[in-house]
Symmetry: C2
Subunit: 405 residues, 2 copies
């Protein structure tokens, strides 16, 4: 794989995008976006597993069913969730307007929305926004940035990642953008994020293979992020393969190379989402290894990453490791603290049931870094998992106590 410098969402050939401000969010930058191909192309999507899913998720599931899409039409500032029949009509209307201004049929578009739940979309603004976006479609880095802006809500930073990967004699490009800062604890299947992420690639690939590879990558990336453990009504990850490049994903070897590259892009985006969690000052990476199974490791990693007590301690640069061991113990999976070793920023603090002496002031200083590691070795098997989260700050409370009123 090559580096990510200079690459963006529209580096894979065959895509155009735009983002405009239509007045749905209280202030710019953009809140309506289009990401499109010239024709329907192999596509795959993973949606929320929440029993309460937004209208665009319902319509999007229907539109992705045939494995081909022409593009995405998206707005931020309003999730179009819990909005009943009118919400469904509005999601369909977004696709109709996109089809009119870009081409093709409404069923060839994936509608997406993110923002507050329980309010009807301001459809005049949304429609004007889509028509406006249609006028400004292009494939420059600037276009990629504007589309990325159009999906942001409480995000403080844009999230993007891209790689080039050699497949046989050809080179394919994979790129993606994501948004998400709150209501992040996705459980995606390709059947599951208000994580939103859109991925582009110019590889030639079948819809079925693309679908399976997206599911695998999401399982080891987006589904391993938690900010507040809340699976959103709108979580959506979608990938589009324009086929505009020479590279083909066919043989097992190419598939593996493509899968690895896709995972790299998805993990880079997942880490950026965690690092930009609402009110976050640092990225916390929780690694659990030698658990009895991968599932057990995952349950422990999630329990640690979800614990408000652990997250507050991380905010305070506090090596209060008892909360971490205790969180692992409450995950409901086999765990024997008598065998375990816990390290914070590489420093052992707990080993085989008892505390290890450490320099608290020094470790607290190390925990003040922008990236913090929590490593739990269970010495019980071969299971492993990695989760990404952030600290819990007073700003998180401020953002979420005063979001709506």
């Amino acid at each position: 794989m090559y580096g990510m410098a200079e690459l963006h969402l529209l580096s894979p050939r065959g895509f155009r995008a735009a983002g405009v401000y239509a007045g749905i969010k209280s202030k710019p930058p953009a809140d309506v976006g289009l990401l499109v191909c010239q024709a329907p192309v192999p596509a795959a999507a993973a949606f929320t597993t929440n029993k309460v899913f937004a209208a665009p998720v319902e319509i999007g599931r229907r539109h992705i069913a045939r494995g081909r899409l022409r593009g995405v039409v998206v707005n931020s500032g309003n999730a179009n969730a819990c909005t009943g029949e009118r919400g469904r009509r509005d999601a369909i209307r977004m696709c109709q307007v996109a089809a009119r201004v870009v081409g093709g049929e409404p069923g060839e578009y994936l509608p997406s929305s993110t923002g507050i739940i329980g309010h009807h979309l301001p459809m005049e603004k949304v429609q004007r926004g889509i028509i406006e976006a249609g006028k400004y479609l292009g494939d420059s880095c600037e276009h990629a940035l504007l589309f990325g802006d159009a999906i942001m809500t409480t995000d403080t930073k844009r999230k993007s990642a891209a790689v080039k990967v050699r497949l046989g004699r050809s080179v394919a490009t994979i790129a993606g953008v994501a948004k998400g800062a709150g209501m992040i604890g996705p459980r995606l299947g390709v059947a599951h994020a208000t994580l939103l992420s859109y991925l582009t690639t110019d590889v030639q690939i079948s819809p079925a293979v693309l679908r399976r590879l997206l599911a695998d990558a999401a399982g080891e990336s987006f589904n391993c992020v938690t900010i507040d453990d809340h699976t959103s009504t709108n979580d959506t990850v979608a990938i589009f393969a324009s086929g505009a490049g020479d590279a083909t994903v066919g043989a097992e070897r190419e598939r593996r190379a493509f899968a690895a590259a896709l995972l790299e892009v998805c993990q880079a985006l997942a880490q950026q989402v965690a690092a930009d969690g609402e009110g976050a000052s640092k990225l916390v990476t929780v690694r659990v290894r030698r658990a009895v199974s991968d599932a057990a490791a995952r349950a422990m990693a999630r329990a640690i990453a979800d614990s408000p007590l652990v997250k507050c301690a991380m905010h305070g640069n506090d090596p209060n490791w008892g909360r971490i061991v205790s969180a692992a113990g409450m995950a409901g999976v086999p765990f024997d603290p008598q065998q375990a070793v816990l390290k914070l920023q590489g420093t052992a603090v707990f080993r085989r049931g008892a505390p290890v002496a450490f320099d608290a002031a020094k470790l607290s200083g190390a925990l003040a870094a922008a990236e913090v590691s929590v490593d739990l070795d269970c010495a019980a098997g071969t299971g492993r998992a990695v989760f990404w989260t952030c600290d819990l700050s007073r700003d998180y409370v401020a953002i979420n106590a005063d979001y709506h009123t």
Copy 2:
């Protein structure tokens, strides 16, 4: 049942208690307590189900095995958890000192500790405290208050409850105290709370019946409280039946009356724990009814009560109900929002998949109350559950970011 006024932990006959300050906590009031009977009496206890359990829990499970105990020896300020072999020796030593100063065998005492995890007990202070407490045992209201103080950590208020209940021609008294403000999300079995709660009664009852009744009561009270969804290493609920009164729990009718009275005391304590959650400004009661099963109702109630997004909205008096419906949908149990009705403080905000118009300013005013109700009617079955939690405030972060360093 009679009212609770004037009753306290030592109102049931046959108990004495004391609480002293031994310098384990950074400041008074008391941090070492004794609650004892004259002889071993029927007793039952429920401990944490965390795989990581503290030394006093390990020793306590052993001592309660025969269903009879003489009392409790407890300290706050240090949880004696994750402290290895030395921790086990220290927990046993607490029982030995208690037996020496009060009477009986070490195995007749339940040791309990609460406070920071991963530090060895300062045994000189602990032993001096137990000896001191032994000198001041008594059965007055003042003694009950001092014992209650001895178990507090970040609690801002004492938690106590008591009732009198008629059983046949006699009257029994049931009383209890509890502590808990953080690391609260107990899953107790009688086999499960740093929730600590100690209950006294003067009824005559067999250990086996007492055990079953405690399990039932804990399931509908302590196990329905969540502050941070963290099952502690030290959670312990214990009940002692002195038999010093005339009332007997034998026939089914008496058992039901006693069970109802015990549940009333446990629920009163559970609500006090939730209301005094770290940084809390209000008690939030989440009721789910007409779910497909009690288990489903419970999963949804817990998901709502655990959601930091919901808890922050409650802190901001924000009727942002989408977060509540979304939390119910992510509980992993059957839930159809098209059938559901959600009420906040009695005001319908969501009905059958769509928003209900309401006066946001008025409802926000109603949410500023000290007690807030969230009622979700699933219209799908007969399952029901109640959970108690609190709001999530900046103070929660302050308390937990700066607890240790």
